[in-house]
Amino acid sequence: MADAATSGRRPAREARQSVGRAGVGRPGVVWALPGALFFVFFAVAPMVLVGALAFTDWDGIGTPSWTGMSNWSRLWDDPETHQAIWLSLILTVLTWVFQTPLALLLGVWAAGRQRNRAVLSAIFFLPLLGSSVALALVWKSLLDPNFGLIADIGPALGFADGDLLGSSKGAFGAILFVTAWQFIPLHTLIYQGGARAIPRSLYDAAAIDGAGTVRQFFSITLPQLRNTIVTSSVIMVVGALTFFDTVLILTKGGPGTDTTIVPYLMYKNGFQAFDLGYASAVATILVVVATTVSLLLVRLTGFAAMRSTREGM
């Protein structure tokens, strides 16, 4: 039986034995050095620099000039930024609502050992293999109102003439759909792993007590997948807050600014307008929001406590 969670109730003798070869104790801090240094240089330092740049005016050449709070007051007054934050939040919530149930059901289904499931799963995971940019280009062609698939199915969806990307709701829906199509397989994979780790004996016991498939799903599978759901949700939420390439290729933030979510706003200010100070302020907001949301998720779900889902087994 897999004993994934360290319950901390193991006898001490075992703990001593579980240390590797005699004499080599717990690895020293030196072992973490390469990874830690990489993390500091390539993650922490840039983030700190971006935070500093947010208080400057810099066009990417020469030296940044200190402007204090001016970027922030501009952020506060800019309706485009408000719209972007709002759109990002809506997109994140809808992404979660749309992707989680689907990914969970598919993952649980794919966890079965039947051969046809393995084959179908393999086909289904294909979107994971493509690069975001290439996939977005394919979808862009499919959404061409004159030659794409949308020309035929658009009228049924309420978009006469296939004018999906030209309407605010349609363009937003397209981004929601394409990213879901692209990322549900990843989350399905996570749920599949989680579902496979649930001990058979639980189901056997439930079956003896007369629980049917549905009852087993709600009483065993879902509670056992609690930590998996949190993990997948954190990845999904942070991912949704930082969607970029799909938006760049499918809609360019349009029509107008109606799909300009925060990362795209950052790109527009940073790499089209070369207003790197302002773009850094936008980026800082994004870092703060994403960190807060994932911390909240971890905190509120008791995930951090790593409470075992197998008390008493």
């Binding site: 050095l33 240094l37 050449i61 003439d161 030209g166 307008a273």
Partner: protein
């Protein structure tokens, strides 16, 4: 019973432990070392071997530059090292490297707004003294093209690629079926809209997801209503100058065209980059397409039969009551070589010699062989060599006779105006902004 600890074992163990620790430290140091130097010497540029660093935008036309570098290196003591930067990342890379030791010595650019920030910081070499010393150099190019790359009347760029004016293309087969003629006046154009709409054909293909295609319409209309001076005033006096009546008239005309169905019903979803608009046009579902001269090469690549026999071209008509010269052109005059101001002495001489190669006949011949139309003033005799001499001649004469060649606004203005300009134009076309709202948005940039 206690087993005496073997000394040798303990020693060997401690040694292995210390060697382990040492090697880990070394590895970490090495990693950090490479990580740190990686930022410094990773990219191209900053060559200390005395060669001249030349950066170029990498696409289908880059082979012309590769050839000229080969030729140049045969004659020069200081060799040119050509760095080809893949298209997408070029402007970011150019911008981030300028002002660092890794900056290129000579580099490709779009003139106007793409270099105005460098000029402000005195990072580019003013080429006027060289032109004064060598009058042939200045005379080698069509004046409007040379001036389109100038900033505040000083020349920082030497034209080095083909011309790219915006042309009104039309589908010959569709016109023949409708018994129609290409529009000579604005009235013709409005009549044609109705003619084609009755036939179930979209009058003008328009890629509404790419705002720069819509911008071409606004640029031409402003030019026809008020002349090239309107935009020159905006460039020199700032954003307040957008409230010129010509801009308002152009915006109203755009709304009028959209209302008449000039662009069909679903233009807002049509793209240029994935070939949506061009296919629509080539397949005869749209009759006309206002697009840069690269449309020909694009059609040749994707719809070769249409490019060969079905593609027609004409000029953008005059508008009623407009004061602009209908011979004027908008678009991208060409691309330019600029020289970094930090290049001094012999290297500077070599750099100037190198950019002069773009004025030579054999360079123009290479451009023509590549399907481009050169911007040199003596290229007329060479145009017969072009794969489509009629098209090359039309383009060349169009540009040569144009009293003004206005650089695309999103290229001409400093980079910070590009996103809001694109947004405003797209909103105007989509009806999210009224003509007056459009003016306000532009003034507020």
């Amino acid at each position: 019973m206690r087993i005496p600890r073997s000394r040798s074992r303990s020693r060997s163990r401690s040694r292995s432990k210390s060697t382990l620790r040492a090697s880990t430290l070394t590895a970490a140091a090495l990693l950090v070392g490479t990580a740190l130097t990686g930022c410094g010497s990773g990219g191209p540029g900053g060559s200390d071997d005395g060669s001249l660093d030349v950066w170029v935008y990498q696409d289908a036309s880059t082979k012309v530059q590769r050839e000229v570098v080969k030729r140049f290196n045969k004659t020069s003591d200081i060799k040119v090292k050509l760095t080809q930067v893949p298209g997408e990342g070029y402007s970011d890379k150019m911008r981030t490297s300028m002002g660092t030791p890794n900056a290129p010595d000579v580099f490709f650019n779009w003139g106007g707004g793409s270099i105005s920030d460098f000029v402000k910081k005195d990072m580019l070499l003013d080429l006027d003294p060289s032109m004064a010393k060598d009058p042939e150099l200045k005379k080698a190019f069509i004046p409007t093209i040379l001036d389109a790359g100038a900033i505040d009347g000083k020349h920082y760029g030497i034209p080095m690629r083909g011309m790219q004016p915006v042309i009104l293309f039309y589908n010959k087969d569709v016109f023949e079926k409708a018994g129609a003629q290409p529009p000579k006046s604005w009235d013709d154009l409005l009549t044609l809209i109705d003619t084609f709409k009755d036939k179930g054909v979209t009058p003008f293909a328009l890629a509404g997801t790419d705002a720069w295609t819509e911008l071409m319409w606004v640029e031409y209309l402003v030019d026809r209503y008020g002349g090239a001076g309107v935009f020159q005033k905006i460039q020199s006096q700032g954003m307040a100058a957008w409230d010129d009546p010509a801009v308002l008239k152009a915006a109203q005309t755009v709304r009028d065209l959209v209302g008449r169905g000039a662009f069909g019903k679903n233009y807002k979803s049509v793209n240029y980059t994935a070939d949506g608009a061009s296919t629509l046009f080539a397949k005869g579902k749209a009759a006309m397409h206002l697009m840069g001269s690269w449309e020909y090469a694009n059609q040749k690549a994707n719809q070769p039969a249409f490019a060969k026999s079905g593609l027609g071209w004409t000029t953008f008509p005059a508008v009623p009551g407009g004061s602009g010269d209908p011979k004027s052109v908008v678009g991208n005059p060409t691309n330019y070589w600029s020289v970094n101001a930090k290049v001094k002495g012999d290297k500077q001489k070599t750099a100037i010699e190198f950019v002069k190669f773009a004025a030579k006949q054999d360079y123009s011949k290479d451009l023509i062989a590549n399907g481009d139309v050169p911007t040199t003033s003596d290229a007329t005799s060479l145009l017969a060599e072009h794969e489509n001499p009629d098209y090359a001649r039309f383009q060349y004469d169009l540009v040569k006779q144009a009293p003004d060649f206005t650089l695309s606004w999103d290229q001409a203005l400093p980079a910070k105006y590009t996103p809001p300009l694109h947004t405003a134009v797209q909103k105007l076309f989509n009806g999210q902004l009224s003509p007056t709202g459009f003016i306000d948005a532009l003034k507020g940039m």
